[in-house]
C-alpha cells in the first residue's frame, strides 16, 4: 500500500489560540483504506482532518510544526452541514456536481461524464435533474459527497458527515465509504459515532487532548460503544465486542 499522507511529530495551533489543537502526532494514511478518527469534542479530530488534508494552515491560518508529507494535491472535504457546502450556483443536481470538474476547464464531455459517474457511484443518479433546494438532508449530503468525488480526489476527508442525518441516511452514507476506498482513494472520517465507525473503518485513530493515543483496528481501539460498555461490565476481556452480533458469541451464562 502507498502512504498518501505522512505526519511526523506534527503539532498545530489555530491563530489566536494559546493551546495547541494537535501535539506530536505521527501517523501515515494509506491509499485504498478507510481510517476513522475519534475522540471527545475538542480532542483534535477535526483539526487532524484539516492538517492531513493540507487545508491547515493554508486556509485556516495558524502554525504547523513537525513534518507533513502529502503525496497528492487532489483532496476532497465533506462537512456535517450540507447547506454550507453547495455552491448555490446550479439549478440542478447535475450542475452542482459538475461544478468542480467544470472549474478545472476540462472539456464539456469529460465534465459531464465525471459528474454522471459520481452521481451513479453514490446511487443518486435519479436526482440528476432535481433542484438541490428540494432535496432532503440525506439526499443532499450524498450530492455533496458526489460533488467532491467528481473531482476524483486521492484523499477524501469527512468531518462527522452524518451528524445532521436520520439513522437510515447515516447508515447509507457510511456504507458508501468502503466503496470509495475500494476505488483507490484514502478515506479519512472523523466522528463521535463509534458504532457506525466500527462498521466501516479499516483502522481507527483515537485522539485525546490533541495527542494520538491509540491506533489500530476498530476492535483494538474502540471500547465505548453501548455494546462494549455492557460487555465490559459482563467481564469480557479486551478486545471488547462493539456490536450486538459480535457480543452474542462472547457473553454466556
Amino acid at each position: 500500500m502507498t502512504a498518501l499522507v505522512t505526519l511526523e511529530r506534527v503539532g498545530f495551533r489555530y491563530p489566536g489560540s494559546a493551546r495547541p489543537a494537535l501535539r506530536d502526532v505521527s501517523v501515515t494514511i494509506d491509499a485504498g483504506t478507510v481510517t476513522g478518527v475519534t475522540g471527545l469534542v475538542g480532542s483534535g479530530a477535526s483539526t487532524l482532518l484539516l492538517v492531513a488534508g493540507g487545508f491547515a494552515p493554508r486556509l485556516t491560518g495558524g502554525a504547523l510544526t513537525g513534518t507533513r508529507h502529502l503525496a497528492t494535491e487532489r483532496v476532497g472535504i465533506v462537512f456535517a452541514t450540507p447547506w454550507t457546502q453547495l455552491t448555490g450556483l446550479a439549478s440542478t443536481v447535475l450542475g452542482e456536481v459538475a461544478f468542480g470538474p467544470a472549474s478545472l476547464g476540462r472539456p464539456r464531455e469529460a465534465v459531464l461524464a465525471a459528474a454522471e459517474r459520481a452521481l451513479r457511484d453514490l446511487g443518486v443518479a435519479h436526482l440528476a435533474e432535481r433542484d438541490p433546494a428540494t432535496l432532503s438532508g440525506g439526499e443532499l449530503q450524498r450530492v455533496v459527497v458526489a460533488s467532491v468525488l467528481a473531482m476524483a480526489p486521492d484523499l477524501l476527508v469527512l468531518d462527522d458527515p452524518a451528524a445532521e442525518l436520520d439513522p437510515a441516511g447515516a447508515d447509507g452514507l457510511y456504507a458508501l465509504l468502503p466503496s470509495v476506498a475500494a476505488r483507490g482513494a484514502a478515506v479519512l472520517v472523523a466522528t463521535p459515532d463509534t458504532e457506525r465507525l466500527a462498521r466501516v473503518a479499516d483502522r481507527v485513530l483515537a485522539l485525546e487532548d490533541g495527542r494520538l493515543v491509540r491506533a489500530g483496528p476498530a476492535t483494538a481501539v474502540l471500547d465505548d460503544t453501548d455494546v462494549a460498555r455492557i460487555a465490559r461490565a459482563a467481564g469480557c476481556p479486551a478486545p471488547l465486542p462493539l456490536d450486538v452480533a459480535a457480543a452474542l458469541g462472547r457473553i454466556a451464562r
Binding site: 471527545l40 469534542v41 451528524a163 463509534t194 460487555a231 461490565a233 452474542l248
Partner: protein
Amino acid sequence: MNAGPASGAAASGHAIRFEDARFAYGGTEVLHGVTLDLPAGSAVAILGPNGAGKTTLTRLLIALLRPRSGRVLVGDWDVATKRPDEMARRVGYVFQHADQQLFERTVRRDVAFGPRCLGRPAAAVERALEELGLVVVADVHPYDLPPPSRKLVALAGVLAMEPGVLVLDEPTAGLDRVGRDLVVAALRRRNAAGVTSVVVSHDVAFVAESAERVVVLREGVVAADAPARKLLRDAAALAPLGLEPPPAAALGLALGLPGAPIRVDECVAALQGARWRGA
C-alpha cells in the same frame, strides 16, 4: 423585563394536555386532531418520520404556533392565550440548531440571558453550567468552543430558566458520549423533580436512556403511544420509521435478559444479577 405571573416559578413541573389539537399551514392540515395527556414529571419521546408533524406538535407547546382548533394546555395555561416569551416561564425549548442563538461574549453570560429576561435568580445559571460540565469554559466565548459544545451551552441556557416543561429537538446530533451522558443525566434529574420532558429525536439509544414513554407520530396523527420499554424492543414497530431497537435493547432481547432492559445500565445490572460471563 417581563412582569409575568408568579405561578411558573421554577422547581415543580407542569402537566401537558393536547385536546383534539389541529394545526394547518395555510390550507394544508398537518396535525389532524392530536389528543395526549402527559402528567407532570413524564419523560416522553416523540418519534416519527420527517414531515410527520413532530416539530409542529412541539411548537404548539410554546405558542410559536397556535392550534387551529382544539386546545393545548401547559398546566392551567391555554397556549392560545400566551405569547412565546410568556410561555418561556413554563416551557424551556431547545431548538435543533440552538447553537445559532448564542450571542453573548462568555458562556456564562449567554446562559444567564434567559433567566435575566424572566427576572429569575442567577443561582440557576451556575447549577446549569455545572450540570453540563461547562464550568471550566464559563468565561470562554461560546464561538471559541467547538460546535457540539455550543449545543450544550444552548441547552444550559434553557435549563437555567428552570422551566417546568423541557422540550428538546434532536439534542444529541454531533455530541460525543460524554455530552450525551450529561444530557441524559440532566433530563433524568429534572424528571425526578417533577419536570415534564418532551424529546424529539432520531437517536433511539438516547431515547431509550431518556424516555419512559414513546409517542409515534405519522402523517399528523398519533400512530402509537406506548411505554418506551415495550416499543423500543419491537423491531417490527420501529422498522417503518427507519429505526432499529437500540443496541442495549437488541442485546437484551438476543440474550433473553430478564427485566426487558433497554438502557445500558439496565443491561449491566441484568447481566451481573444473573451471573453472566464474558469471554
